[in-house]
């Protein structure tokens, strides 16, 4: 089924709606015309009133106004009914069937939404929402992102790298710890912009002050930067044209956000966006499962683990999940993965079972090598 089919069915509805609109206007116009004609006739001619009026009656009966209306309305309503039926056939009838009747704490949800808006820089909406939804301590949610977005705004709107450079200088050590070359890239961009503006002397001075100290760690990059001098204001014709392109600005802005969030201990992508997208991926399977389990409502509400996997694309795999090949259970704190001397990995419970509670040596299920419990090491993914 394509969206095209839906669109075609709806095109018919639209068509009939237009038909109804025009036809109904036409019919009324016809009636008005006939009556006005009759009025003129009555006023101007000498013919008998009854005849003129009888003529009007015949004319109106010919037009069959009510039938016209009803006809068009019927066609329109039929087209709509067909379209609605098509929708019900194509789309999932009720996506709330998989919804569990658990308490979803509204204040928590509201906090999450407010945070999301602040993270995206939509402060006005965030504030309005916080006041309407009575989100407590919205200032605390807001503050980390205020600084980030004001730096971003300077970069994006006025191409002013000042605030960004100030922030980078303040957090230099932490950034180096993370191995980020953000400071270098920002200085580079500033230098390139100066060159483009033709301020060669200033650019050189700038490079000496800010870029030279970084030369040890980033030799190749610094060489590139000084080579730019050869092209000056014709940088776009040089091999280094991309250094001043708008997309480079965008890249740096993204890098800035990434580092800022990282230093704050915040995720880069909005967690609300990620969760909702994951939900959309997993919901079809959940709905199928709910339909199958319809008879066992109690079990559905209380289950701790879904009986089927919800296969998400790999972007949603954030941390390791170990599944013991023997017991087919997920690893947890009580039952961690253990490395056997042969290199295969089983859960601790499987190993205890195989070794009859640490009393004997056991053979690995995957290879002929034997081992004891003492030789196994816990793994940390």
């Amino acid at each position: 089924m394509d969206v095209d089919t839906i669109r075609e069915s709806f095109d018919r509805v639209a068509e009939k709606q237009v038909q109804y609109a025009t036809r109904s206007q036409e019919v009324i116009n016809q009636l008005i015309k006939e009556i006005e004609l009759t009025i003129t006739n009555l006023q101007e001619t000498n013919s008998d009133q009854s005849t003129i009026l009888a003529q009007l009656k015949t004319k109106i009966d010919e037009i069959t106004p009510l039938a016209q209306f009803e006809g068009c309305q019927k066609e329109l309503n039929l087209a709509i009914a067909r379209y609605t039926k098509l929708l019900e056939k194509t789309f999932t009838t009720d996506i709330s069937k998989a919804y569990r009747d658990v308490e979803m704490d509204i204040p928590t949800i509201n906090e999450i939404i407010a945070s999301h808006f602040y993270r995206q820089g939509q402060f006005e909406i965030g504030d309005r929402f916080s006041s309407e939804a009575q989100v407590s301590e919205s200032d605390i949610l807001k503050s980390p992102f205020l600084e980030m977005h004001s730096i971003l705004q300077s970069m994006k709107l006025s191409h002013d790298l000042g605030p960004a450079l100030a922030w980078v200088a303040e957090n230099r050590e932490k950034l180096l710890q993370y191995g980020s070359s953000l400071e270098l890239k920002l200085h580079e961009l500033q230098y390139v912009e100066m060159l483009k503006a033709g301020k060669r002397v200033e650019a050189l001075k700038y490079a000496r002050t800010h870029l030279a100290p970084l030369a040890n760690e980033h030799r190749a990059e610094i060489q590139k930067v000084f080579a730019c001098l050869l092209w000056e204001d014709r940088l776009d014709q040089s091999p280094y044209g991309d250094l001043s392109s708008p997309s480079h600005w965008e890249e740096l802005a993204t890098e800035m956000v990434r580092q800022f969030c990282g230093l704050m201990g915040q995720p880069f992508e909005s967690p609300l966006a990620v969760t909702l997208a994951a939900g959309a991926e997993g919901l079809p399977t959940l709905l199928k499962l709910a339909a199958v389990m319809q008879a066992k409502k109690q079990e559905w509400q209380e289950m701790k683990q879904l009986p089927v996997p919800l296969d998400l694309p790999k972007e949603y795999q954030f941390h390791s999940v170990f599944v013991c090949p023997v017991l087919r259970e997920q690893g947890s704190e009580e039952n961690p993965p253990m490395l056997m001397p042969c290199g295969h990995v089983l859960s601790r419970q499987s190993i205890l079972k195989l070794s009859k509670n640490s009393t004997r040596a056991f053979k690995c299920p995957y290879c002929p090598q034997e081992g004891t419990v003492a030789q196994c090491r816990q793994l940390y993914f």
Binding site: D2, D4, I6, F10, A14, Q17, A21, Q25, I32, I35, T38, S50, L53, K57, L66, F69, L76, T84, L87, T90, D94, I95, S96, A98, D105, T108, I109, I113, I125, R128, A220, D242, S247, E250, G265, P267, E269, A277, G279, A280, G282, L283, P284, L286, L306, P309, L310, P313, H319, V321, V323, R328, G331, S332, E333, L339, V345, R377, Y380, F381
Partner: protein, 421 residues
């Protein structure tokens, strides 16, 4: 220093998901007949398409009925004029002139409703077009825009249901999704909800009358509950005679359907509002009004083909279940995982986690999958990282490995391979 001139560098790749992707290049293609299949994800969007259609049906029902009524009246009057002109009290010409005026009136009304209906048709169309823009996985870049719009739509649906109308309007305007959301439909609900919150049933009753036939089809209890509340308010005000008369007129017809409840409520006449008897005290409680608001919202959503639970909660629950693993509560989730956030973990607590059939291991350093092409290596302290990450580290550090999480040092040669199926 040797000067090395680089060869021309390829154009930098477009920005990541923070910036919006430019769809102009794809515009032409979209204008040609693009085949977008209705994938599983699109199938979830029934509400998106149904609500404007239901709204259209509703408008048509009332405008068609009015037009027919008015037109029939005019035609009937024409018949009486043409039938017996001489007997008529008013001369034919003036009758006919006034009839023409009325016809003009009908015409105007039809024009207004037609343009309203055309606008609703346009909304239906805009939503179909929005679905056509969906590109299924793995073409993720295009999807960022679509996913973002969906996120905004879902948040907006939540705002409307929770009656945060100002935020909703602001969001719709800033995200430019006015045609994809149902603010206009909820405007209708707003008046009723606010009046119920002010303890007035009249607008709600009007709404019930307007939608009588649909509510009857779904066997709705709403009108009965509203009448009950009015009765209770009268009893509270000690207006007994009025209450009894009211009950006779408005509650009696519901007797056969909801006998027990009716009996219980009418007994409040005897107990009065100050009663301490719990069965009856609860009936006088102010929170019954909140219950009425919820009941109304449910009927309203049902009528328009909306889910009874906000979309946000449906998607959130599904997402939390999909992302949750048994190791999550330990707080070992990397910060990119939504479940590392306290709020999300709280919401996920009562939800089941997803089953996994096979191990999926993610390297702590590179965040890449550790599989047969990039197998996991084990340090002497049991910590595991991917071969790629450890080889890179060894290369840059003369063969030495430092565990990023524990700081322990060892040599690359001390590492052991792990075999995970």
């Amino acid at each position: 220093m040797d000067m090395v001139i680089d060869p021309p560098v390829a154009a930098a790749e477009g920005g990541a998901s923070v910036t919006s992707s430019n769809n102009n290049g794809g515009g032409e293609e979209q204008r040609k007949k693009k085949k977008t299949p209705v994938t599983e994800i699109l199938k979830l969007e029934l509400q998106l398409l149904r609500v404007p259609v239901e709204h259209l049906k509703k408008s048509l029902r009332s405008s068609q009925r009015t037009a027919e009524k008015d037109l029939s009246a005019v035609l009937a009057d024409i018949s009486s004029v043409t039938a017996s002109p001489t007997v008529a009290a008013v001369p034919p010409v003036s009758s006919l002139t006034s009839l023409v005026c009325r016809l003009h009136g009908i015409k105007r009304k039809l024009e207004e409703s037609s343009s309203a209906e055309a606008a609703q048709v346009q909304r239906c169309r805009a939503r179909i077009e929005h679905l056509e823009e969906f590109v299924p996985h793995p073409y993720c870049e295009c999807n960022s825009n679509w996913n973002n719009t969906r996120l905004n739509r879902v948040i907006l649906d939540y705002m409307l249901r929770m009656s945060y109308y100002d935020s909703a309007t602001l969001l719709a305007d800033s995200a430019n999704i006015q045609e994809l959301v149902d603010i206009d439909v909820f405007v209708e609900a707003r008046e009723v909800v606010e009046s119920l919150q002010n303890k007035k049933v009249a607008p709600a009753l009007t709404w019930c009358a307007e939608n009588k036939s649909r509510l009857k089809k779904t066997k709705s209890k709403l009108e009965f509950l509203l009448r009950l509340q009015e009765f209770i308010e009268m009893v509270k005000a000690n207006d007994y005679l009025r209450a009894i008369a009211y009950a006779r007129k408005y509650l009696a017809p519901w007797g056969p359907t909801y006998t027990k409840e009716l009996q219980r409520v009418t007994a409040t006449l005897a107990f009065k509002s100050g009663t301490n008897c719990s069965t009856y005290k609860v009936l006088f409680d102010v929170c019954r009004w909140d219950f009425l608001v919820e009941e109304f919202k449910q009927e309203f959503c049902k009528l328009f083909g909306m889910t009874l639970v906000p979309l946000l909660q449906i998607y959130l629950q599904a997402g939390l279940s999909a992302l949750k693993t048994p190791s999550c509560p330990q707080g070992s989730c990397p910060k990119e995982d939504p479940l590392s956030q306290a709020g999300f973990m709280r919401l996920a607590e009562p939800l089941p986690f997803s089953k996994q059939h096979h191990s999926k291991l993610v390297c702590f350093i590179t965040k890449e999958l550790m599989d047969t092409e990039n197998p996991p290596l084990v340090l002497p302290n049991g910590y595991v990282y991917s071969t790629k990450a450890l080889e890179e580290m060894a290369k840059n550090n003369d063969g030495k490995i430092t565990c990023p999480r524990t700081g322990i040092e060892c040599n690359f040669s001390d590492l052991v391979k792990a075999f995970i199926s």
